[in-house]
Amino acid sequence: MMANDAAFKVTVSEQGGAPVLEARGEIDVASAPEFHASLADVIGQDPDIVIVDMSGVTFIDSTGLGVLVAAEKEMREGGHDLRLVVTQPQILRLLELTGLDKVFTVLSTTSEAVPT
C-alpha cells in the first residue's frame, strides 16, 4: 500500500515548559475529531500556554478551524493562551480570509511561541 502523505498525525511534546501539539497532514471533517480529542487532552491539563504547531498541516477546513476556535475560546476564558505556529502560505491565507488571524496569536516558529 502506498504511504499517504495527507494522513493526519498528531504528537505532543514540551518546549520551554509549554505543551506543543504538533499536527501534520490534512485536518478535515474525518480527522477533526482526533484533532479535537488531542487538543482537549492537552488543555485538560490546565497549562498557561498551549502551542499548536501547524507547520506540517497541508490542509484545514471549517471543521478543523472550528476545533481551533473552540480551543482558543476555552483557553482565553480560563485566562490562558493558545498560540499557533503556521508556516504554510495557504493556511496563513485562509486565516486572513476568515479574519481568524486577528483571533489567534499566529507565529512562524515554535521557539517564538515558547514562553520567555
Binding site: D28, F59, S62, G66, Q90, L97
Partner: protein, 149 residues
C-alpha cells in the same frame, strides 16, 4: 459570495470540459472530492492559488451537503469549465444501502456552518443551494483570475 443567482446549467456544455464524480456521503471519502477538484482545476489551467481555493471550496460544499444527509446518502459532483469560469454542482441523494463504514460528520454547530459560509464567500464568486423534490443541491462558480464577469 452567496447570491440570488441560479445554479449553473450543465446542459450543452462541451463534453471534453465536464467531469462527474459520485461518492458516498462519508467523511472518509471527502479527500476524493478534493483530489478531483484540484485535478479538474489544474486541467482547466486555473492558477495555483485558485486550484487550492477550489480544493477547499469543494470540501466545504460537500460538508454542507453531508450535514443535511438524513442517513446513508451519495454525493454527485459535476464539474464544468470554459474560458471564463469553472462551475460545480453537488447533489445529495439518499442511498438504498449503507455506505462502507457509514462515517458521517457530527451535526454541525451554528458556528461551524457560519465559518463554512465565510470560507465559501471568500473563495468563490458565487455559491448557493436549494432542495428540489427532496433532492438537495449546492453549487459554486469560480471565475478565472483576471476574467471579468
Amino acid at each position: 459570495m452567496t447570491s440570488a443567482m441560479s445554479a449553473p446549467e450543465m446542459v450543452g456544455a462541451d463534453n471534453a470540459n465536464r467531469v462527474e464524480l459520485s461518492l458516498a456521503a462519508d467523511a472518509q471519502m471527502l479527500f476524493l472530492a478534493r483530489l478531483t477538484a484540484a485535478a479538474v482545476a489544474s486541467r482547466a489551467e486555473f492558477d495555483y492559488e485558485q486550484v487550492e481555493d477550489l480544493r477547499l471550496a469543494i470540501d466545504e460544499l460537500c460538508i454542507g451537503l453531508m450535514n443535511s444527509a438524513p442517513g446513508s446518502a451519495r454525493i454527485t459532483l459535476q464539474f464544468q469549465w470554459d474560458d471564463s469560469e469553472l462551475a460545480v454542482i453537488g447533489t445529495l441523494r439518499a442511498a438504498g444501502t449503507p455506505s462502507s463504514n457509514g462515517r458521517q460528520p457530527a451535526a454541525a454547530s451554528e458556528a461551524a456552518v457560519e465559518l463554512s459560509e465565510r470560507i465559501l464567500d471568500a473563495l468563490v464568486d458565487d455559491h448557493g443551494g436549494e432542495t428540489v423534490d427532496g433532492v438537495q443541491r449546492a453549487w459554486l462558480r469560480m471565475r478565472r483570475q483576471g476574467h471579468l464577469a
